[in-house]
């Protein structure tokens, strides 16, 4: 085992660097930049039960060291993913992570079952998308909602389930515990913080959908805090994300208790960001002579 490899919810990852759902589509746009097999894992664009066109434009607004998005889960539906995208993605030697959002627990369960059956390594249950009206963040805003969705998925599949938590809650640890109790195998966090920008010239929100999700470096301190709190509260492995752009950022998440990390917005800015994070991590481990496992959760509180 190389010093970069980790076991995450029982799944071997060749390294702890993955790409975050919604920032990497189904990978096709990035093959020109690097070999996708170098990644620890790929979380594909969020899938829904049926095809979705997403929200009206504009869908992106820049903010200080962050961005708001209101894509609204534009995707071809989970069946089309299984048929059209999955066979292509399979050629890469990396952990494939589906990301699902249902309008009802039943939709979640059906998708989890089908994707598990299709051989997805890990199914990320997105109960935190702030950009759709039904489902999504609605479930992620309460322990009860999380329990409901995760329980339904757990019954439907033996596949590994990872719950993607919303940061827009009072007590993230409570949400994590609910997911753990309902049978989740792992947690991922954070999804985006709900935000808004107003164009003072037009006096309208910049986003066509008015509100959107904040991501990027701006949110990193909130994400690191939540990863730490969740790591203290549950025994599940954590996929940490939120503003990771460099290996140093990734190390912060690992120290806080994440077993693996995801690069999101940084890839939107620089297609090579995940590789830079990976190579930086590699260099760091070489210099300290450690393996990733030595760093996970190694923060010493003051």
């Amino acid at each position: 085992m190389s010093e970069l490899s980790v076991r995450f919810a029982g799944i071997p990852f060749k390294n702890p660097v993955t790409v975050a759902s919604g920032t990497f589509a189904f990978g096709r746009e990035y093959v020109d930049f690097f070999d996708l097999s170098r990644l620890g894992g790929i979380a594909v664009k969020g899938l829904t039960y049926t095809e979705r066109q997403g929200n009206r434009p504009p869908r992106i607004a820049e903010t200080p060291m962050g961005m708001l998005n209101s894509i609204g889960l534009q995707n071809p539906g989970y069946r089309a993913f299984i048929e059209t995208e999955l066979p292509w993605l399979r050629r890469f030697d990396t952990v494939l992570i589906a990301n699902i959002t249902g309008a009802t627990p039943r939709e979640y369960a059906e998708m989890a079952e089908a994707l598990g059956g299709a051989g997805l390594d890990l199914i990320e249950i997105n109960v935190s998308c702030p950009n759709v009206k039904e489902g999504g963040a609605l479930f992620g805003a309460s322990a009860g909602g999380i329990t409901e969705v995760v329980t339904a998925c757990r019954r439907a599949t033996d596949a590994k389930l990872m719950v993607k938590l919303s940061p827009n809650v009072t007590d993230i640890a409570e949400m994590a515990k609910a997911a753990e109790a309902a049978g989740a195998d792992a947690l991922s966090l954070i999804n985006t913080l709900l935000g808004m920008r107003i164009d003072i010239a037009t006096r309208r929100p910049i986003l066509g959908n008015n509100l959107g999700g904040l991501s990027g470096p701006a949110v990193r301190p909130v994400a690191v805090r939540m990863v730490y709190q969740v790591a203290q509260a549950v025994r599940l492995p954590i996929l940490g994300m939120g503003g990771i752009a460099t290996a140093d950022d990734a190390l912060e998440f690992l120290l806080a208790g994440a077993t693996a990390v995801a690069v999101g917005t940084a890839t939107i800015v620089d297609p090579l960001a995940p590789i830079r994070v990976l190579e930086g991590l590699e260099r760091h481990l070489h210099s300290t002579g450690e393996s990733v496992g030595d760093i996970i959760g190694a923060v010493q509180m003051n």
Binding site: G22, T23, F24, A25, E29, Y30, D32, F33, K45, Q53, G54, N55, R56, P57, P58, R59, I60, A61, E62, T63, P64, M65, G66, M67, N69, I71, Q74, I206, G216, P217, T265, T267, I268, V269, D270, P271, L272
Partner: protein, 260 residues
Amino acid sequence: MPPILEQGTIRRAERLCHNVIDLRIESPRIAREVQPGQFVHIKCADDLLLRRPISVCDVEDGQLRLIVEVAGAGTRWLYGRRAGEVLDLLGPLGDRGFPTPDARGGPVLLLGGGCGVAPLLLAAKCSPVAVDMVMGFTEKCRVIMEQDFKSCCRSLTVCTDDGSYGTAGFVSQAALRLLEQEDYQAVFSCGSMAMLKSVVQAVERADIPCYLSLDERMGCGLGACLGCAVKLRGEGGAEHYGHVCKQGPVFELREVVWDV
């Protein structure tokens, strides 16, 4: 031609008028591939997270020529660049630029407003048929690139909104007159949303293809983040969201659903 990440050194930075700069950037790998209508995505100041899309106006000797007008913080930063500085470029982007006109067809009409004239230059230079260019600006002191277009277009009409230079009035008005006189095989246009709208109205009556370069706020520029949505009408007439950075930035007028 897959997109390329390239560090381009600015070789010349010339102010064309207040708040408009003409940059020549040594970027041989991108320059070799670029097609008319394509753009590069540029990392600007350190405190600006996202890249900014800028059309390629021309290519020569491995250099990209870009015309940038200040619209906000990123373009203001670009306006402040000087020869010798290095820009982080991603390009060429856009699967569809302006199409290559049919060499056996009629001439092509180019309609550009303000900085929107920029991408039309490469289209004009690459055209196997004659091109007529109409360019519009608010006033005399905003007129740019007149010589550039003169040297590669069959005719050039410069309009100013206030009549302070060339023909008084809007690009669409001058376009209407030309469309009556000549059998164009296509119209290529780029400019502000207001200008495009009036061009659309002018051209819709004429039954010829009209290709528009569209503007949308962008994230990745690669078709991955799905940020730069534009509503399109598909084959069967069904509406769906396409993406300006990947499927465009040039669209045929009739595919676009004009919501706004």
